[in-house]
Symmetry: C2
Subunit: 123 residues, 2 copies
C-alpha cells in the first residue's frame, strides 16, 4: 500500500512530529479530503518502518486536533475539519514567528523575501 501523503525526514524533530506535520499538510492542502480513509495504525507503522505505538500516538494527535475521526473496529477517516482556534497553539505560532524573524535577520534575509516565501508556501 502506498501512503496518501509523503513524509520528509528532517533532523532536529521527532519522528512523531514529522509525520504529524506531513499528514496535517496533506489534509490542510486538500490532498486528503474529508471522508477519505486514513492508513491504519499497523499499515502506517509498516510503510514508515516505525513502531505501532509511535503510529498510534501520531493518529491520536491528529484526532485530538480534529483532523481525523476514529471509527473503532472500522478505521480512521479524514474529518470534515474546522480551523481550530486553539489558544495554546496560536500562542506557540506567535512565538515561532518571533523566532523566525530573529533567525532571518541573523541570516541577512530581508522581510520581503520572508513574506514572499510565505505567500508562495500558502498557495
Amino acid at each position: 500500500m502506498v501512503l496518501p501523503f509523503t513524509v520528509v525526514v528532517r533532523t532536529g524533530r521527532s519522528l512523531h512530529d514529522q509525520v504529524v506535520f506531513a499528514a496535517t499538510k496533506a489534509v490542510v492542502t486538500g490532498q486528503l479530503s474529508p471522508g477519505d480513509a486514513f492508513p491504519s495504525v499497523r499499515t502506517l507503522s509498516q510503510e514508515l518502518g516505525i513502531n505501532p505505538n509511535t503510529a498510534q500516538k501520531i493518529v491520536a494527535t491528529l484526532i485530538e486536533r480534529g483532523l481525523l475521526e476514529s471509527r473503532p473496529g472500522v478505521g480512521t477517516v479524514v474529518s470534515s475539519w474546522q480551523p481550530s482556534a486553539n489558544p495554546a497553539r496560536r500562542a506557540l505560532l506567535v512565538a515561532d514567528i518571533e523566532r523566525l524573524v530573529v533567525d532571518a535577520k541573523q541570516l541577512g534575509i530581508p522581510v520581503s523575501d520572508v513574506i514572499e516565501a510565505i505567500r508562495k508556501a500558502w498557495k
Copy 2:
C-alpha cells in the same frame, strides 16, 4: 550582575536553545552592540541558574554563528557581526516557514494576519 538580555522560558525547547535565541535576539535587534562585553560563562551560569557547561555550550554556539568573539583570558565580546548566509540554516528557515504556514492554515489564521505579525516582529 544583571544580564544584558532577558530569557523567556518556553516549553518544548532546550535550555540551550532558549538562551541562544534570547542572546541572538538581543544582538540582532541592537540591544547589544558590537564591542559590548558579553557575560562570562561563570556569570551566565550563576545568573541563569544553569550549569557552567551548558553556559559554555551556549557561548560556543554564539561564537560559531559569528555573533560573539572570544578573547581568552579576557572575556567574550559582541562581534561586529555580518549576516551569515549559512546555506544549512537558510534551508532550515525555509522548512520552518512551510511548517508555519501549515500550522496557520490549520488554526484558521489568514495570511494577512501572519504577514502582519511578521512585519510587527521585524520592527
